[in-house]
Symmetry: C2
Subunit: 108 residues, 2 copies
């Protein structure tokens, strides 16, 4: 199944902020940003999340906001953070968000 | 009525992003950031919003996430963006979000 993704010009900041404004989705973005190839299962494994069903909504929000690409690769979906595109569209945003998430982690 | 607000240390980035990830709330933040003294009514007037009742939820989300202060002043509530505190807690975040909102406006 091929998913539709917004073009860079179709991305809107309110959607990106909503996508990032959830602890689980923010954790996913942090994993993807750290590098490496991930599919849905391996991200969940990395985060210690066992319920795949509750994640379907999160993948959709991340994908439709323009934060990640979700692309079929064999029997899996490859997940990629749209880092370059987001950085060109909203300079400094993702860096500030990821630094903020790391700083929250130290506080809590 | 005095509202409770989170201290800087109690602010969490997911809540801030959720608060900013809504077009109406983002517009409110842009008005407050542009400077000047605002109460709920004058922000709504500035945005051309006439329904006060739908805004009660938005004020609460902005206040409880730590984005704005909502303080009684006479018979009104004075609204203030917690710019300095947010900038110290999440350097560059608000600048990137406000620049992104301005850039979206040009595209749409």
């Amino acid at each position: 199944m091929m998913y539709r993704h917004p073009t860079v010009g179709q991305i809107r900041i309110a959607d990106v902020l909503t996508a990032l404004g959830n602890p689980v989705r923010l954790s996913v973005v942090r994993v993807l940003d750290a590098g490496g190839e991930y599919n849905c299962g391996s991200v969940l494994g990395r985060l210690g999340i066992t319920s795949k069903s509750t994640m379907t909504h999160h993948w959709r929000v991340l994908r439709e906001s323009g934060v990640i690409l979700q692309q079929p690769s064999g029997r899996e979906n490859l997940l990629t953070l749209r880092r370059t595109e987001l950085d060109s569209r909203y300079p400094g945003l993702l860096d500030a968000v990821l630094a903020g998430a790391a700083s929250d982690e130290i506080l809590s």
